[in-house]
Structure formats: C-alpha cells, structure tokens
Symmetry: C4
Subunit: 216 residues, 4 copies
C-alpha cells in the first residue's frame, strides 16, 4: 500500500548485511589474537616450577593480548554506535568501511610484535609500530564518519550532530594522542603503551557515559 | 500507530547484533581448538604402524580438544539462555560480555598447555592453569548476570528469579569447584581434570533438565 | 491478537541462532583448511622451475583440500536441509548438533594427515583415519536426525517421512560405505579415497535431484 | 490470507542463510590473510634500527596483504550485488557458489607465495600462480551468474539485463586480463602484479559508478 515501504526495508537489509560482515571481521580478528599466546617449548628437565616460570616470563604476551582485545572490542562498540546512525549505504561508505576493516585485521600483527620485542632493545620500534597502527585506525574511523556524513542523505534523521562530534573525537583526540604515543616510543616504551591504554580507558568511559545510546 | 513500537524493535535489533557478534567469537574459538591437533612430523622410517603409534601418543590432545570443545559449547548454550532473558543492553552489560568473550577466546591456550604437558612432571601447573581459566570464566558469567540484573530495567518481565538462580550457580558452585580443581592439581592432575569434566557434565545435565526453556 | 504468535516467533528466533552459530562453525572449518596449504620453504638455488616443481609436488595437499572443502560444503547443505524440517529445539538436539559440529571442526586434522602421508608407506593409516572421521560424522548426522524425529514435536508438519529417509541414508549408506573405505585403506589407499570421493559425488547428486527442496 | 506469502518468506530466509554463510567465508578469508604477516625472528644483537630494517624488508608481505584484502573485499561487494538480484536458490546455484567460496578461501595461499618469493628468481612462478587464481575466480563468478540466470526463475523481476552485463564483464574483461597477467609473469613480475592491481581499481571504480545500486 505504501510504495516507499519495500525500498525502506531493502535499505535496512543492506545495512544489516554490511554490519554482519563487519561483525565477522571484528570477531575473527579478536579471536585470532589468541594464536599469539604460545605454549612454552618442551625442553630440558621439565618441572611444575619451570613451567610456571616460563608462563610468567610471557607476561608481555598477556598484556598485549588483553590490551588489543579490549581495543578491538571498543572499536566494535564504536562501529556499532556509528552504524546505528546510518540509514543508507553508498560505495564510498563501503570502501572506507573496508579500509577500517583492513586495519582491524592487521591488529594481531603489531600486537605480536610488541609481545615479542617488549623486553628487548627494539621495544621502541615495536611500540611505535603499535601506536602507529592506531593512528591509521583513528584516521580510518574519521574517514568512515566523513563518508557517512557527506551529503546528509545516508544518516538517520537528527544524527548529523552526533556524527560531527565523533569526527572531532577522531581527529582532535585520537589521531594526535596516538601520534604522540608513537613519537615518544624511542624515549619510553612504557609511556607509549601507557598512552594507548589510557586512550582505551578513555573511549570506554566515553561509551559508558553515553550508555543510554546503547539502550535506545 | 503505537509510538512505542519502533523503539522496541530497535532494542531487539540491538540485542540481536550483540548475540550475533558473541556467536561469532564462540564459534571461532571452538574451531581454532583444532589447530592444536598437530600432524606427526615425518621422520625416519615411516610405516603405517609407526603413524598409528604417533597418533595414539597424542591422546592428551584429543582429550583436551574434546573437553574444551564441549565446555565452550555449553558456555554458548548458557550465554544463549542468559540473553533470552535480556531485553535491553547498556554499556556495563556490553563490557562484562566483553570480559566473558575475552576468556572464551583464551580457552585454546590452556587447552594446548594441558595437551603438551599432561604427560610431563609439569602437568600440575598446566592443569592448575586450565582450571584457573574456568574460575575466571565463572566469575565473568556471574558479573555478566549481575550486570543484567542490576536495576531490573534490562530483563524481560519475570526473569529476575531465573537470573538470581544462575548467579548463585556461578558463585556457589562454579567458582568454588573450579578453584578446588586448580588447588588439587599439584596432588593429582587426574582429580583436577576430573572435577572440570564432572562440572561440564553437571552443566549439561542442568540444561537438559531445563530443556523446555530451549523449546519456549 | 493471537496469543500463540509471540511464542512462535520466539521459537523461530531460537532455531535461527542455532543455525547462525552452526553456519559460523562450518564456514570457519572450511576456511581453516587453507592453512594446510604450505608455501614451499625458501632453500638453495631458487628458480621459477624449482618453485613449479615444489608446488606440483604438493598435489596431495590440493587434492585433500578440495575434497574436504566440498565434503564440508555438502555437510552444510545437508545441515541446512535438516534444519528446514525442524520447528523447535530441545536440549538433546542441541547436544547432538554439538557432536556434529565437533566432528566438522576436526575435519582439517585428518585432511592434513592425508596431505602429509599420502606418498609415504603410512598412507594406509592416514586414509583409514580420514575415512574413519566420516564414519563418525555419518553417525553424528544419524543421531541428530533421530533427536529431531524423537517424539515428533520438533519437526514441521509432514516432515517425518523425509527425516526417516535421511536417517536410512546415514545408517544404511553413509556409515557402512565409509567403514568399508576405512577397512580397505591397508590394501589400497586409492580405493579408500575413491570411495570417499564417490560418496561426496553421491551426496551432491542426491541434493541436485532433490533440488526443488532448496527452492521451496 | 495470502497463500503465496509463507512460501515467499521461506525463500527469502533461504537466500539469507546462504548469504550469511558466504559472508562468513569471505570475512574469515580476509582475516586469515594477516597470519602471513610474520613477526621477525629474534636473533643476534637486536636493536630498534635492526627491527625497523627487518620490518621494512617485509614490504612484499604488506603489499600482497593489502592487495589481497581489497580484492576479496571487492569480491564480497560483487557477491553482495549479485545476490541482491537473486530471489530463489537451487542446487546448481548452491554448488557454483561453493566453487567460488573454495577459491575465496584459497586466496591466502597464492598471497603468501607472492610475499615469500617476490624478491627471488622464482617471482615469475609466484606471480603466475597469483594471477592464475584470479582467472579461476573470474570463471567461478561467471558460472555463478550463469547458474543464477539459467531458466529465469531465480532472479528478481527485471534483473536479467544486469546479470548478463556482469557475465560479460567476467568472461570478456576479467578472465582474459587475468590470463594475460599470468602469461606475462615470466617477462615481468611487476607488469603481472600491475594488471592485477589495475583490475582491482577497475572493479572498484565500477562499483563506485554503480553506487546508487548499493543505496537502493
């Protein structure tokens, strides 16, 4: 009876498939992180205490695994939050989303790098690469948001303000601070990782404060 | 006609995407377990009997694989059962669910540890780590349930009793018994693993008895 | 208006989440098969012809990969066909489905075994394990079908006949022929693999002939 | 009230599950590509500059990773575009889709081959295998489209023209140009990879121009 109806439901299905596909990439990237946790190699006189020691020595792996897991989780929550504001999809949005997914799948690589090199003199390089990955991810988020806002036809009614606020978060908070984390890595690996972790907590608190958005 | 309707359906979609995302993590974690089954290395005079022997020697891997697979499966069934009681999602529920998923993706690591060290003197450490993982998982389930119950706004009508019963199962059965399994590991690896397996059977029987819940 | 409606749609959602979860396991198991295709190790004087030769020598891997991929694909199609006949889910169906998924995730392991040992004297053992896996998978399918048929409450109207026919296919064709393939492996690896491949073609043709079922 | 309705919705669910399953395979294949990015092995005197050098030397890996990621992404977008034109599924469509998914899961293998051998004399073979994979993928797309068009019963109203145009793109542009890329590999690895990349850009621009199709 309403000729606009079929069109609408087709659009929703469109967003749905893109979200489901992105969810797949996010969940696999999070799960593949575990492959970086290596079982200590059997060697020499194996005892319970020795295995404890070996496992304890791997703490950079556990730290990197946990940080990366929650970072990707928060990225997913943000992705989720963005697509709740999106009504239609066009090709540019599809490709900026693709760029973001590319960077999401990359995350296990710098994570493994930090886990392997955190206790070596090369830690600065590993931390700089790790923080640098998040610089690119912040840019990708910004581009995705700009692609969604462009022209105003793709967003749901009244979402432009929220999208603009998120663009500012990306380019005025995320990009410069992750860049700072990358640049301080040669001086202090801990400051570099600390900034990354602090930003993770910051994004979390941000979504906790905007909590009602998740219940709407 | 009913102004409350669009809101409701948006909420349902919300829960739907979280469930789909969690399903992705559960199914990938279950499938990655197979990567711990290693093909015996080609070496020396290879015969059919030799390969049989090599495969037979890997029984701790098969045992760990099967136990972990069914444990994660039952965790998924429980997760499924919990989210049938949940109507809305807020940020805290999102993060406690994230903590649970973190632990689900970790499961392949202690599984591989048990598979590698079950026949060595370090078995006690491996079994303690394995049981310890399930202590944390039980706590994560409890926190998820508490986050869902908190305030009472997130649950479907009349679900509070069932949620409270499940919280008690977590903190009064799951946590202390898995803790016991971790603590007895230095005395007997078999008792430790036996408790883990018995709990797996217990949770299964629990869901079999509550079977009608799955049909509703 | 219709008090039975909400119940019905809740049931459908239930089946939907189980199907989505199973789809996840099937698609991941199929994709993990590619990890068995190994890039030849760089060594000695590397030339284009040498790499061609190395890649050509890996033909058992390609053969095993393709066979296993299509076998899992057909298993998915069958799974799909079965769940189109299922209206409700109970705990036993959930666990028999879990057993089937366990065996689906295992498939990459015997596949890698065949790929590694097909050209060695241990091929008979590898082929027997490969065929043996499919014996267990056939039994798991049969149990799943029996669990679905049991009591008659879980199936859609008029599906009992089709389910019984599929049970017979499992126990009277699948199980004995895969068992035969496992038993002849010591005499001829090729006959063993040939029976597995022939059964794959047979199940395919079966679904092609029942084609209209997929269009309904 | 409308006896045709239940049938229709059953059909839509059918397409939905096939799309969800395919999405799973696409997203996993894209995510597994990251496993080819290897952390440099700890060895000798490790310094920040040394790690920079090691990471820089891996550029063929990053190049192959990025190209393959976007190629699979565009394949997914095309798959998505095709199934928007499909109304019903039959067994032949199911199997041609299976052939396409087989090739999608294979992509990480030639990608790793190019990454490992691009700087060796065997690069020609690696590039020819890489381009050859896309020849087969183009053929698989063409077969999928032919299976969808066959008989005309499976498409939505008015989609035959669009499907025929896509068939022509596959067989008259994709297949011959990827074949050319495979054949020129012995003369120039760069020309071979350049053709593959140019085609990736071409398919992208094609979907950008047909942008409105994604919004409909």
């Amino acid at each position: 009876m309403d000729p606009a109806r079929p069109n609408d439901s087709a659009t929703e299905k469109e967003t749905g498939r893109l979200e489901a596909f992105s969810d797949g990439v996010f969940s696999i990237a999070m799960t593949l992180l575990v492959l970086e946790l290596k079982v200590p190699t059997l060697s020499g006189p194996v005892t319970g205490a020795w295995l404890c020691g070996q496992l304890a020595k791997q703490w950079p792996s556990y730290f990197a695994f946990t940080t990366s897991f929650f970072t990707v989780l928060i990225m997913w929550i943000n992705h989720h939050g963005i697509f709740k504001l999106v009504r239609k999809i066009d090709a540019l949005l599809l490709f900026t989303n693709g760029l973001l997914l590319l960077m999401v799948t990359v995350v296990p690589f710098p994570t493994a790098l930090v886990a392997s090199y955190l206790r070596t003199p090369a830690a600065s390089t590993a931390c700089a690469v790790y923080a640098g990955t998040f610089v690119i991810i912040s840019v990708a988020y910004g581009l995705l948001l700009l692609a969604a806002r462009r022209g105003g036809r793709l967003l749901i009614h009244g979402a432009a303000g929220e999208v603009s606020r998120r663009v500012k978060d990306c380019f005025c908070i995320g990009v410069p601070l992750y860049l700072l984390a990358a640049l301080v890595a040669p001086w202090s690996r801990w400051l570099s990782l600390g900034i990354c972790t602090a930003l993770w907590v910051f994004w979390s608190v941000g979504s906790l404060e905007r909590g009602p958005a998740f219940r709407r």
